[in-house]
């Protein structure tokens, strides 16, 4: 019986390795980390700016606040003083998270919801596709399907409502001019940068309320989560020492009322009919076939009988007068020489794709499971807002015009897509294969190109120092679709031109709204 024992050496080695591999696992970021900043300006005249939907900054009334010298106010000050004096670690975390500009977080929350709900319905065993039902949002497929049209509209309503609400807020802040608690009582401890903004109503509370109102309507299954976030946002204002309770109550009521105005527009803006039934979708297709001699068809297995929102084009625009004003020219006939040039470019590019081209295609894919191109541009806007230390009113203005322009771009793009009903490369070039999945809507023009060109116009106007950066993003986003194999060059170029026009309408409005 021969024995060989090296076990002790192996045991020691294992222990050493186990200790060595105590993986320092840093949690990956789930939101942007930023230090709450001092606002670059206060925009004391913000209450005179022109809202986009409210008839005036004072359309919605709020009660006058109690006087700064009143007993009620003094009692509220004392409550804040106690609350902000010492914070638990959870309270401090909430204050740090919400920061002094809650728009940043609500924008992130909107992006999260867009990504969470951006999944297509799964086919049944019979090969049919059920559709989300807003009356029964929790029954599969869940409502909503947050595809690019839905998401661009969601971001637009949220941002537009936040902006009108901020104009109204600034109007009342300076009308009533009641000091923020730390300016009324210098002994109150604050956990966010101080400034001279009047406290009533609380802009943070307005933002929480209007965001909760809009997002709960847009993502009904998230209502409980959203309510929790709004509650935490409002509480964080007291913990931070920057608002008293009546600031928040007034802000809450103002935010809810503004939300209601925007929800009424949303209920009647045509989105209800955007996802057409099959007969309507077929008639749109047949109309294009008769007019042009071609049509788009979904190439999935099993095929999806209806594309995404064939009538998104009929949804109410914000700034563009009508879709005809920005509709691109007719694309080349499939099979023509001009078409063949574009097809050859696609074939050559995909057959010889460089790693950098692949990276660009993936970086900008913003497809199913993501926050869509509109979400991606919201990220850039938020980064610029932080970099330039915009106050909530000015930040809301940037996000509002950006997102309204992008929804307009989506509406105009979907007009071109279903008017021209152009086949995608995988349909018109048999045997052609891509590296990105082809979405369930026609080709011409490229949504990425239109969303990005419109966003570039607006953001470059607001942040001229960063214009080159935004232009670079826009060009790369557009080219990414060619590298992915899902758009022809003429899709991208026409999309860029039309998107630039769309952005121009938003900028024209911006120039006159008082906030320049």
């Amino acid at each position: 019986m021969k024995k060989y024992i090296a076990l002790p050496y192996y045991a020691v080695l294992l222990v050493i390795i186990a200790i060595g591999f105590q993986s320092c696992d840093e949690d990956l970021p789930t939101h942007i980390a930023y230090t709450p900043y001092e606002f670059a300006s206060l925009d004391e005249d913000g209450g005179t700016w022109t809202p986009n939907l409210l008839t005036s900054p004072s359309q919605i009334g709020i009660p006058a606040p109690t006087d700064a010298s009143s007993a009620e106010f003094q009692a509220e000050l004392a409550a804040v003083k106690t609350a902000s004096a010492t914070l638990t670690s959870e309270q401090q975390a909430a204050v740090d998270y919400w920061g002094g500009n809650g728009l940043i977080r609500w924008n992130e929350i909107a992006r999260e919801m867009s990504a969470k709900y951006n999944l297509a319905p799964s086919p049944t065993a019979e090969g049919t596709y059920p559709a989300p039902n807003p009356a029964e949002p929790g029954t599969y497929p869940l409502f909503p399907f947050a595809h690019p049209p839905y998401s661009s509209r969601a971001f637009a309503y949220l941002a537009a409502a936040q902006y009108d609400a901020m104009i109204a807020t600034w109007n009342y802040k300076y009308q009533y001019n009641r000091p923020a608690p730390f300016n009324a009582d210098g002994t109150i401890v604050t956990h966010l940068p101080q400034n001279d903004l009047p406290g009533y109503p609380s802009d943070g509370a307005v933002i929480a309320a209007v965001s909760k109102d809009l997002l709960s309507a847009l993502f009904p299954l998230e209502a409980a989560f959203i309510a929790e976030k709004a509650e935490e946002h409002k509480n964080s204002l007291i913990w931070a020492g920057i608002n008293v309770a009546s600031d928040i109550t007034a802000g809450d009521s103002l935010g809810r009322a503004v939300g209601k105005v925007f929800r009424m527009r949303a209920a009647n803006d045509g989105m209800k009919n955007a996802q057409t039934p099959k007969p309507v979708s077929d008639s749109i297709r047949n109309d294009a076939q008769a007019r042009l001699g071609w049509h788009w068809e979904n190439q999935e297995t099993p095929p999806r009988p209806v594309g995404i929102t064939p009538k998104f084009s009929a949804v109410k625009l914000w700034f563009v007068p009508n879709v005809l004003a920005v509709r691109p020219p007719v694309p080349p006939t499939p099979g023509s020489a001009e078409f063949q040039t574009a097809a050859d470019e696609l074939n050559n590019t995909l057959d010889n794709l460089t790693n950098d081209q692949r990276r660009i295609a993936n970086f900008w894919s913003d497809g199913l499971g993501s926050y869509t191109p509109a979400g991606h541009w919201n990220r850039f806007a938020v980064e610029a807002i932080i970099k330039h230390r915009l106050n909530p009113l000015r930040a809301a203005r940037a996000l509002a015009y950006l997102n309204m322009a992008m929804q307009d771009a989506g509406i105009a793009c979907w007009d071109a897509k279903y008017y021209y009903h152009y086949p995608r490369p995988i349909q018109a070039m048999p045997g052609f294969k891509t590296i990105l999945g082809t979405p369930n809507f026609p080709s011409y023009t490229s949504g990425h190109s239109m969303f990005s060109a419109a966003a570039d116009e607006v953001l470059s106007h607001i942040f001229p120092d960063d214009a080159a950066l935004f232009e670079g993003y826009s060009e790369e986003a557009a080219m990414s679709r060619l590298f992915g194999g899902i758009h022809y060059r003429f899709d991208i170029e026409a999309g860029h031109d039309a998107g630039t026009l769309v952005g121009g309408y938003a900028v024209s409005r911006m120039i006159t709204d008082g906030g320049e």
Binding site: M1, K2, K3, Y4, I5, A6, L7, Y9, Y10, L13, L14, I17, F21, S23, D25, D27, L28, P29, T30, H31, I32, E108, R111, E112, A115, K116, L119, A120, P121, S122, P123, Y140, P141, Q299, E300, T301, P302, L350, N355, R358, R359, N362, F363, S365, L368, G369, S370, Y371, H376, R379, I426, F432, K433, T434, I435, L436, G437, T438, G485
Partner: protein
């Protein structure tokens, strides 16, 4: 032929029968003598047409049948008594029979392992041994791991620690069990936002660690010229998330499977050192993986690189 190293079977078990499993470490009880080297060239053909979307088993018309082929050269070298160095570098190609997306191909991860005998008891009728393997595998090319179901690997560093219990009877029968713990580093992809169970603003993916386990029984026959065996093994992940409904797979999915396999290795009598190996396996249960059917075939060739003064006691399997 007792000393001929057969690594083919252990290799197929590792190299990955479907998209998301990394090259693992040799799982059998065979050791090369000091100075002996064995080269292997293995081809693996892996197909599935159903997969588990989380725990929901389904097919996908836009994929059809997913075929994954692996070409893997590897060698095992006895660097000291009861200590082997193993290295392997698979080249993987993937393609789908359905849909309109391009497959993928490239060199996957290079794996290097040290395998040693920790305990050995040579009895009159059988030998019982305990072996341990430590390994590292690292991606060698810039392949895109965020390209389900075509990705050729997980794209992350992988450290493995494996223990093997081996029982070999002199008459030919053997049985062994093995388990390994796999520590994964982060993978890096080409977009900087993705959604798992929540959004992540990073191009890095926190990959779940994993464990493999299995048991094999078999026998040497015909004067040790033929080995046949059957294996039951599996993988389980610690952490990770399920594929959402109608979503695509993602490297950090919680991957699990069990499978059975059978194989044979034949040592060609008139060409000393040359062996031919074949293996078949079928995934039985799974989570976030394809239900792969895998066939592996290959050649092994062993010879002495250098001589040692004293011959080590025979440890064969």
């Amino acid at each position: 032929m007792k000393k001929v190293l057969h690594i083919g079977i252990s290799a197929y078990l590792l190299i990955s029968s479907f998209s998301f499993l990394q090259a693992q470490t040799p799982t059998d009880g065979i050791m090369m003598d000091n100075g002996q080297i064995c080269f292997a060239a293995l081809y693996t053909h892996d197909t599935w047409d159903e997969y588990w979307e989380g725990t929901l088993k389904r097919s996908n018309g836009n994929v059809g049948t997913l075929t994954r082929q692996t070409f893997m050269p590897m060698f095992t070298l006895g660097i000291a008594d009861r200590l082997n160095l193993i290295a392997a570098l698979p080249f993987v190609t993937t393609e789908a029979s359905g849909g309109q997306m391009r497959g993928s191909e490239g060199f996957q991860d290079i794996g290097v392992w040290l395998k040693g005998v920790a305990y050995e008891n040579v009895g009159t009728s059988a030998t019982f041994s305990t072996l341990a393997t430590l390994g590292v595998s690292l991606p060698t090319s810039d392949y895109l791991e965020d390209y389900s179901p075509f990705s050729i690997g997980l794209g992350c560093p992988d450290f493995s620690m494996r223990g093997i219990l081996n029982y070999q009877m002199n008459k030919g029968f053997f049985a062994r069990g093995q388990a390994a713990y796999l520590i994964r580093g982060n993978a890096t992809i080409e977009r900087d936002y993705y959604y798992t169970t929540h959004g992540v603003y990073s191009d890095e993916i926190d990959m779940p660690n994993a464990m493999t386990y299995g048991a094999t029984v078999g026998s040497w026959l015909f004067k040790n010229s033929l080995k046949v065996d059957a294996t039951y093994d599996g993988l389980t992940s610690f952490g990770g998330h399920d594929i959402r409904r109608q979503d695509v797979g993602f490297p950090s999915n919680k991957m699990m499977f069990t499978r059975i396999g059978a194989g044979a290795q034949y040592f060609i009598p008139f060409i000393p050192g040359l062996g031919v190996v074949g293996q078949y396996s079928q995934v039985l249960t799974g989570r976030n993986v394809g239900q792969s059917t895998v066939i592996t075939a290959g050649l092994t060739y062993q010879f002495g690189l250098w001589k040692t003064e004293e011959a080590a006691p025979e440890s064969t399997n």
